[in-house]
């Protein structure tokens, strides 16, 4: 047990060192790709709070990602807000929308939950498309990402990819650390308990409805942060941040990586972003290959890639079980 823990920490430290060192190894193009991977990993992590931990299948998580992106980009453009408040505002707007919709959706489960999240996603999509004065309709909104101000120190220009990479890395690692810690908190435990047996949790005396709403808000907050980062990264946001394809993308990422483990969604996010980039340069039918992998995994590896890795690990060193 202790040895296993040591290995985990060693692995974590090596990963961190690698991430810190990446800008010195990679070309500009691949560094940009890694930034996208990191941002989508956070989006998938936020999604997995619902799919993996709560067992809720959402078809509408793009709404929170999208509103986070719109909020930060519009704030950068209209009010000249600086970087940190802009990104935070993206998260808060995701959380607020999560409160509004979560109050309704968490009452339902299963297919009904999936359908209601889908309906809300389409509502937000329609709003973004029609409210041209604010969102620019199909043309979208563009804004340069502002510098990162440290009080009493001055600003750090976010234009160089390297600087922006480190900023995104810090924000995502902090958010991911919270998501990891969240699973160990009483509320995180309750979340998994609700998935297994909601009635029993209610009998013990938990306010299951309020807990679910809070959990939903947390998930939406981080989706909003991921969206704000993605918006600031592209310096441009359109309705493609909210559409059903985006909602499907995060679902596919999380599922391919495996919803059963903490690092599964991270793996899925990185894998899918890299894979799509690789395939789209080779063939125009990358979406077909992506869909086929998804269907194969659903049929033969319901725990995703991380499930396959765990299976492989137990087969290689069976004593560890």
């Amino acid at each position: 047990m202790k040895r296993g823990r040591l290995i985990s920490w060693a692995f974590f430290l090596m990963l961190m060192l690698l991430l810190v060192g990446l800008p010195f190894i990679l070309s500009e193009y691949y560094l940009n790709l890694v930034i996208t991977m990191i941002i989508y990993s956070l989006f998938a992590l936020s999604y997995n709070i619902l799919l993996g931990n709560a067992g809720l299948l959402s078809f509408g998580h793009a709404a929170y990602f999208g509103i986070g992106a719109y909020t930060s980009v519009i704030l950068f453009k209209r009010l000249g807000v600086s970087l940190i408040p802009g990104i935070l505002a993206g998260g808060v707007s995701g959380g607020l929308l999560g409160l509004l919709f979560g109050a309704f959706v968490v009452r339902l489960g299963g297919t009904y939950f999936a359908l209601l999240t889908l309906a809300f996603n389409e509502l937000i999509y329609a709003a973004a498309e029609k409210w041209r004065g604010l969102s620019g309709g199909e043309d979208g909104v563009a804004a340069m990402r502002p510098a990162f101000h440290i009080p009493g120190f001055g600003g750090i220009d976010m234009f160089p990819t390297k600087n922006w990479y480190y900023f995104v890395l810090v924000v995502v690692v902090l958010s991911a650390a919270f998501c990891w810690y969240f699973r160990k908190t009483p509320l995180g435990r309750l979340n998994e308990c609700l998935r297994e047996n909601e009635d029993r949790a209610r009998f013990i005396g938990y306010n299951t409805y309020a807990s679910k709403v809070v959990i939903y808000i947390i998930s939406c907050f981080f989706a909003g942060i991921a969206g704000a980062l993605a918006g600031a990264f592209q310096e441009f946001v359109t309705v493609t941040f909210i559409n059903l394809d985006k909602a499907a993308e995060v679902l596919i990422m999380t599922f391919i990586g495996g919803s059963g483990t903490f690092w599964g969604p991270i793996l899925g996010g990185c894998f899918l972003v890299y894979f799509n980039d690789l395939l789209s340069s080779m063939t125009e039918h990358w979406a077909l290959i992506q869909g086929s992998i998804f269907v194969l995994l659903v049929m033969y590896a319901p725990q995703g890639l991380s499930g396959l890795i765990i299976q492989l690990k137990t087969r290689l060193c069976p004593t560890k079980q």
């Binding site: 009452r107 992506q290 049929m299």
Partner: protein
């Protein structure tokens, strides 16, 4: 004034689309009622109907042949989907089945793009169905009346099968309690397979007749699936009668709504679906399970 005078025509448009929607939605809602699976690929089956018909027309030039053959081809696709894919993941639960059909819809859409291209294809109608007729001072396209006729005939046929035959009784019984039907000695997996095939056939038929009317293009699946979900939710998952009412309602909402608030017709649709899910999750006619 112009708006008022175009209401009757728009209402007729709405009726045509509503009936078409019902053809597809009836299979979807029955499959959900029986298997607990909301088939995301149902819209893709509808699209396949339209494209199969297009290809048959290209090869033979016979519209009536494609009207007979294409739905059966779609039925085969649907049965393969159920037998070799859906049934395999049944043990993992409904979420996995939903994800599987979602993945299949994705694959079918991409395949359609590869085989038939990204651009809409043109389906030429036989001479007898093109043009328009005038009645009660309204000039109306013959083809839309033809859609109305076909969908109405199928609707009657389906009600007769469901409510007057032994097979229909078994299907309805399995929708309301499949364990009991299984215990009585019926081959429930076979009933599933046949029902899935029938749903696919209906979707395929709707695709054949709907293709020339609503433009045969690779986006037609994702466009109709949203309307379908709204219909089955409002009607009540598993209820054919509810699906009929909801289909006609959505047809009218779209065609009349577009007259008054063209920007917001689609918003109302989702709002209606959200409200029904919040206040009456089992829909207008669905039974609480």
């Amino acid at each position: 004034m112009e708006i008022i005078s175009s209401i009757p025509v728009q209402a007729l448009h709405g009726l045509v689309y509503g009936m078409l929607l019902f053809l597809v939605a009836s299979g979807l809602t029955l499959i959900f009622g029986m298997m607990g699976v909301l088939n995301f690929a149902h819209g893709a089956l509808y699209m396949l109907g339209a494209y199969f018909s297009f290809t048959i027309l290209q090869w033979t030039g016979m519209f009536w042949l494609s009207l007979i053959v294409a739905p059966f081809l779609v039925m085969v696709v649907g049965m393969v989907m159920e037998r070799f894919f859906l049934r395999k993941v049944h043990v993992y639960g409904h979420a996995h089945e939903l994800l599987l059909t979602f993945g299949m819809a994705y694959i079918i859409e991409e395949l359609v793009k590869i085989i038939w291209g990204n651009e809409p294809v043109r389906v030429d109608l036989p001479h007898i169905l093109s043009g328009s007729v005038t009645f009660l001072g309204i000039e109306y396209p013959v083809y839309r009346l033809f859609i109305l006729l076909i969908s109405f005939l199928v609707f009657i046929l389906m009600f007769l099968v469901l409510f007057k035959t032994r097979a229909g009784i078994i299907v309805r019984a399995a929708v309301s309690n499949k364990e009991m039907v299984d215990a009585l000695g019926f081959n429930v997996p076979m009933v599933f397979l046949l029902l899935f095939g029938m749903g696919a056939w209906l979707a395929g038929l709707a695709g054949v007749i709907g293709g020339p009317y609503r433009i045969t293009n690779p986006a037609m699946a994702s466009t109709i699936i949203i309307d379908l979900f709204v219909v089955v939710v409002i009607g009540g998952l598993g209820s054919v009668g509810g699906a009929l009412i909801a289909s006609l309602l959505i047809g009218q909402l779209q065609s009349i709504g577009i007259l008054f608030l063209p920007e917001f017709a689609i918003v109302f649709e989702f709002l209606l679906m959200a409200l029904v899910l919040i206040f009456r999750p089992h829909g207008l006619m669905g039974e609480a399970k």
